[in-house]
Amino acid sequence: MIPGALREEVARDGETIVFVAPERLLETMTWLKNTPGQEFNYLVDVTAVEFRDRERPLQVVYFLRSLTRKADLRVKVELAASAELAVDSVWGLWHGADWLEREVFDMFGITFRGHPDLRRILMWETYAEGFPLRKDFPLRGRFSRAEQVRQALNANPEAHYSLDELSIADAWGDIPEDMRERLKRGERGTITE
């Protein structure tokens, strides 16, 4: 029996879905990765689902694959929409979860506790309209078009790189001095009033 599992379902395509209690997610994932006979050593994707029915909880979905056993597993965590949307990060198990969890945070506003660098990844970092894939988010955004254009034009296109990304690219010595200063201060661009 998988530790922390609440119930299991079989999806239409024959894949198994395991529902896990949020507070036991990390324990379950560690078990799934390290236990012989499970060996889910590859995290394919992390995503989230919000339903039209506001009463239903949000789901965070983890797609796991075992490259050695050639097996797939889906793990779901349900988060009540009324409570705090937070779940433990699995970055410590699969480093590939870094950007996947950032994307879920960007689009749904779900916080991943213990994530090393949780900031927006698709929208720019000064984006102030909310989380676009939530059901209460209007399709055209919350602000007027003029305000959206103003904020976009005032965003700093260089500010999307973190210090880590730049040092990985060995570009630290090549970027302009003022940009280095901004990045040292962690400055992400400002919106003028």
């Binding site: 720019w124 309209e129 399709l139 955004g141 003029a146 254009v149 904020q151 034009l153």
Partner: protein
């Protein structure tokens, strides 16, 4: 030759006649040179860029119209061709590219998305790049066929040949952003970004 000046009939050429002839000659020479050696700066973001590549390749070959050299640096480019949809995240990028291009410069907005936002009437997409940079020629289509882009380029040639070096209004030197960082007033941006076509049936809240 008889002319009427201040109600009196006078003979002879206007004193401005030679100057006008000279200006026309200079304009003709300069505009022909500009129109027939346009260096495009491709800004390809989506499927329109595929058609743009087809236009540049051997079958359609816009090098026939003097666009042999594609400048992948804005500092050596004459015409910015925005091929594809433009998300808000790229708005400061295209504005910076436009600002880096030397005068004289022109912009072609290629395809429905670059011109109007197209089918992407959502939170992430600029509703027409004319809210970001001034546009000279809009090429409709989704994406436009290479013939469509070539027609747009020929229209731009026509526009360039109609310009005059001696008419300061026609060639505004800079179109800087105002203190809010916009090139149009907020009301104008809202107006050109309004839903049209099928997207009027979609409510802002849905």
């Amino acid at each position: 030759m008889k002319r009427v000046v201040d109600g009196k009939e006078v003979s002879g050429q206007s004193p401005n006649y030679l100057l006008a002839k000279f200006q026309n000659l200079v304009d003709w020479a300069v505009n022909s040179s500009r129109a027939n050696s346009l260096w495009p700066m491709p800004f390809g973001t989506a499927c329109c860029a595929i058609e743009f590549m087809a236009t540049a390749a051997s079958r359609y070959d816009f090098a026939r119209f003097g666009m042999e050299r594609q400048a992948f640096s804005p500092r050596q480019a004459d015409v910015l061709i925005c091929a594809g949809r433009l998300p808000f995240k790229l708005a400061p990028v295209i504005r910076r590219i436009y600002d880096q291009m030397p005068q004289p410069k022109w912009v072609i907005s290629m395809g429905a998305c670059a011109s109007t936002g197209g089918i992407f009437d959502n939170y992430a997409m600029v509703q027409g790049i004319d809210t970001i940079v001034p546009v000279d020629v809009y090429v409709p289509g989704c994406p436009p066929r290479p013939e469509g882009l070539l027609y747009g380029i020929l229209l731009l040639h026509k526009k360039i040949k109609g310009e005059s070096l001696f008419d300061a209004e026609r060639r505004r030197d800079e179109q800087p952003l105002d203190e809010k960082g916009l090139r149009l007033s907020p009301a104008e941006i809202d107006e050109v970004s309004e839903p049209f076509g099928n997207s009027v049936h979609q409510f802002r809240s849905s």
